[in-house]
């Protein structure tokens, strides 16, 4: 069976997309408040950026959404599920994927295997067939490989397909991590500083990929990013956190003009490519 550039493999097998509603969540670690009464929504298909100074609680927010932290107060509703009370390994089944700020790839696996792990939830778990690698297990591997190859093509990482992730440059690792999340064929993707440590050229690539997955694959995207150029260009809406509180949310233009945001985060030279 030929795989064509005109295929749209992401159109089948993806869980339904829902609105994400974060409702009054508060999170604290032993008295230190990371998030205080934050509420926001993210509509299906939109790109929502979360910005804010270092330590404002942006990553904590993502961790709450994907089940790594459980907020003490509030709900995070995705469809009928309250994510605030769900273990993180259940999230992929609901179609939620994420990447990490400090790259949490499986360093001793090839790029291909990292991406194949993204397909984990789409594969049936049966240790016996796995051991024998007979027929069924092999077919399943091949089917999922096909999907993964589309991700590889999208992210232009063909040349490193069979390299160990640990040996790759930082920028490529970021790309692979995005690929791994994408391989899940999620409905909602959470990206934690996808462009940190990249030069303009690499950021352009990454922006292109994010737009591709958002517009072509139709994946709802929530991202944390410091580069205002990128944030203002590609996001539909921007949420601003400071000291664990939401101090503004709106379209890039609205946020750009918000005095609180300028004071806390942007500075005078805001909106520039810095």
């Amino acid at each position: 069976m030929r795989v064509s550039k005109f295929d749209r493999p992401y159109e089948s097998g993806r869980p339904e997309r829902h609105q994400l509603r974060v409702e009054n969540i508060s999170l604290s670690f032993g008295g230190v408040r990371a998030l205080t009464d934050v509420s926001l929504t993210c509509e299906p298909g939109e790109i929502l950026a979360i910005i804010g100074p270092n330590g404002a609680g942006k990553t904590s927010m993502l961790n709450c959404i994907c089940g790594l932290y459980h907020p003490q107060k509030g709900r995070i509703m995705y469809g009928n599920h309250n994510l605030a009370r769900t273990s993180s390994h259940h999230l992929p089944k609901m179609g939620i994927a994420r990447t990490f700020q400090n790259i949490e790839l499986f360093r001793h696996m090839t790029v291909l295997n990292n991406l194949m792990l993204g397909r984990h939830v789409h594969m049936k778990k049966n240790i016996l067939t796995a051991l024998l690698y007979w027929g069924w297990a092999e077919r399943e591997e091949i089917e999922n490989r096909r999907f993964v190859e589309h991700v590889i093509d999208l992210l232009e990482i063909q040349h490193i397909r069979k390299q160990m992730v640990g040996s790759l440059a930082y920028g490529l690792q970021k790309r692979v991590e995005l690929g791994r999340a994408l391989a899940m064929n999620p409905g909602l993707i959470l990206l934690d500083e996808p462009m940190a440590g990249m030069n303009v050229e690499e950021k352009e690539d990454m922006a292109r990929f994010i737009l591709d997955i958002n517009e072509e694959w139709g994946i709802t995207t929530i991202l944390i990013e410091h580069d205002m150029g990128v944030v203002m260009d590609i996001s539909d809406r921007v949420a601003v956190l400071e000291f664990g509180r939401l101090i503004g949310i709106g379209t890039p233009d609205e946020v750009r003009e918000n005095p609180d945001v300028i004071r806390a985060y942007l500075g005078q030279d805001h909106g520039g490519r810095s």
């Binding site: 330590g55 440059a169 490529l172 030069n199 303009v200 352009e204």
Partner: protein, 268 residues
Amino acid sequence: MAEPLLALNNIEVIYNRVILVLKGLSLVVEPNQIVALLGANGAGKTTTLKAISGLLKPENGAVTDGNIQFEGKPIHQLDAAAIVRRGIFQVMEGRRVFEHLTVEENLRAGAYTQNNPLETRRLIQLVYDYFPRLKERRHQQAGYMSGGEQQMLAIGRSLMASPKLILLDEPSLGLAPLLVQEIFSIIQRINQEQGTTILLVEQNANIALKVAHYAYIMESGRVVLDGKPDDLVNNADVREFYLGLTEVGSRKSYRDVKHYKRRKRWLS
């Protein structure tokens, strides 16, 4: 021209005995200057810094060819500790501070080459002058500070060794715009007031070219372009691939990025 403070001559770096990372890389750092090293990820910038500071060995890397001269003397055979004693201090990417120590303990740890307690006190005061925020948090555990404060601490700690040359690896990584501006203006002040030479690796070409006296651009383990920032910002490739400017000089929108790239020429 006076002898350069640091000169890398044709160094070749190989990791794990087979992976060639730097090939025939040469660059020169003049005293009292800020020299920026720009380039994409994987171009070998961090490797270059590690080659200078002797930190390749722990990562199974080795300078297999060429030499590195510091104040006219070869240092590429020395181990990391000896290089620090010669006056080169590397501030690692990702703000590696001692998380369980307080700010002040971190600074004292940075002064381990100092034997004179008076001098140590003077240096701590100096660091606090540059980074008032650190003074505010002097008794706080470093691990609980925000990314920007940790970055400040990492730079401050490097000052404690009174180095002649600071190797600064991506000070802006993961920092909010306001903080980036703040840190870079401090870096510039340190360079001007202390006369400390700085070799700066940075992805944010915009700000790096603003503070640097000279810059090198690396691609695939080689220098492809070098020159004064003023010249470089006029180079078409730098403008397009490092500054994100369009032909007429306005900022390109990230929405309009193409799926193909123009070939780079790297001519100047």
